[in-house]
């Protein structure tokens, strides 16, 4: 079995740093930060940990139905989605991921655009 990006960068210890960094960036972003206003911290961290683990081939299972469910009521538009991708790309690169792997993660997230954007 080929090694996943999750394993390649050292598993949870590396991914956890990316998650926290992305969490900060998302909350501080003027474009998408408001989506996270008043969201319970535990839930948000839980979601982002699982989601990023899922995108990088870690031990999380996210069905598209579940993704649709958690995003449905938020009214996320393409612009928001693009901003989120940009922030995630920054987080991944800043934590030493190669351009190729960042591209792979972004591709993976792009494939879920239609379940996240309404």
């Amino acid at each position: 079995m080929p090694q996943s990006i999750y394993e390649k960068y050292g598993g949870f210890s590396a991914i956890s740093r990316i998650v926290l960094d992305f969490y900060d960036k998302a909350l501080d972003s003027d474009e998408i930060g408001d989506f996270f206003d008043d969201v319970d911290m535990n839930r948000l961290v839980d979601h982002q940990t699982k989601f990023i683990a899922y995108l990088t081939g870690g031990p999380a299972d996210y069905t598209e139905t579940r993704l649709k469910q958690v995003h449905a009521h938020l009214g996320i538009k393409d612009d928001h989605f693009d901003e989120m991708k940009r922030l995630l790309a920054d987080s991944l690169s800043e934590h030493g991921m190669t351009g190729e792997d960042v591209g792979a993660v972004l591709d993976a997230i792009e494939q879920r655009r239609n379940v996240i954007v309404v």
Partner: protein, 341 residues
């Protein structure tokens, strides 16, 4: 610079929020910039109880007098983020009077890490459960192709040492005209029926202490006396063989396809082993297997053929019909018997 001025500058530069409060009336005397950033400006002169609504002043006084320290957790919203701040109240003396030092630590990141660890633990636990289930499935599949004791050896050592089993009895069954039946009828139906029949054979074999080793096309091979010795091995395979034939007779009465079998039984030695590395099967080899195969060929449809040595073991329980001496390839002239169904 006076020590006092240095202390004040230090307090102002700290990332920890600090407030100094009169021990008597709980009025705030000093707050550093970090404190103000979190809890607002110009507290001087107001009571600490007004700043932290969740603060129980009586409890604070009581605990401070007993232990000298009191802690409290509070939340403040800064922009979109809810900060979790831990407040520690400690008694101190300043300019000859009793004061309380309130030290405020931002523990949001700690909490975020905790919740991330929870999240990770859940993911891993779930994955572990899934893996356990998968492992059970694989185990079940492997137990279908090899005896449990062989599987245990395979699991522990990664290899199986070929082992000689003697004496054992082998049952070899083959269907009459299966090839033409499979060609003439819908093959999926034929194979479906074959599956039914073999599943029934498995149950019968197990009931009589035999182990099915393999099926190959329409051939069915079972052994008794392996992996655990069975003194009744000859009777075990014969009982199974008779039940197989009776089962088919009964089944044929109510089904369109007529299934007719030939069975050969032989006692002797076999070697059992796992064969192959990637695509492994558990198989048996040896004279008993070969003889059973040859005797099966000598059977007419719905007949069970057995050789002389084995027949001696069965005479008490089964009705044997003398089949005379027959030339069995590789085994010379053999006295054979047919077993009445």
């Amino acid at each position: 610079m006076l020590i006092e001025a240095i202390s004040e500058q230090l307090l102002k530069a700290m990332g920890v929020g600090v407030a100094l409060v009169n021990a008597g009336d709980l009025k705030i005397r000093f707050t550093n910039p970090t404190f103000c950033e979190w809890f607002g400006q110009s507290h001087n002169g107001s009571s600490i109880g007004d700043v932290f609504e969740s603060l129980n002043v009586e409890a604070l006084r009581e605990t401070l007098s007993k232990t000298g320290q009191y802690t409290l957790e509070t939340r403040v919203k800064k922009k979109r983020r809810i900060l979790i701040i831990e407040l520690a109240f400690r008694e101190a003396v300043h300019e000859g009077g009793d004061i309380i030092v309130v030290e405020c630590q931002n523990i949001s990141r700690v909490r975020e890490m905790e919740s991330m660890l929870d999240s990770y633990a859940h993911m891993v636990e779930r994955k572990t459960r899934d893996l356990e289930l998968e492992k059970e499935q694989v185990e079940k599949l492997l137990l279908n192709i090899m005896p449990r004791s062989v599987y245990e050896e395979f699991k522990t050592f990664g290899v199986v040492t070929p082992q000689l089993y003697e004496p054992v009895s082998v049952l070899m069954l083959d269907f009459v005209g299966f090839t033409s039946m499979a060609a003439s009828a819908d093959p999926t139906v034929t194979v479906g029926e074959l599956n039914d029949i073999f599943s029934s054979f498995d149950r019968i074999a197990e009931q009589f202490g035999c182990e099915r080793i393999k099926t190959l096309g329409d051939a069915y091979l079972a052994v008794s006396g392996l992996p655990h010795p069975n003194i009744d091995h000859a009777r075990a395979v014969t009982n199974s063989a008779v039940r197989f034939a009776r089962y088919l007779q009964r089944r044929n009465q109510s089904h369109q396809h007529q299934w007719q079998c030939r069975i050969g039984l032989a006692s002797g030695a076999v070697v059992g082993s796992v064969v192959g590395v990637q695509k492994y099967v558990y198989d048996v080899f040896g004279p008993a297997v070969n003889l059973a195969t040859r005797l099966q060929v000598l059977s007419e449809p719905m007949e069970i053929t057995v050789h002389g040595d084995m027949a001696a073991e069965l005479a008490d329980e089964f009705q044997l019909i003398d089949g005379g001496k027959q030339d069995v390839r590789g085994f010379g002239k053999q006295q054979i018997y047919k077993i009445s169904i």
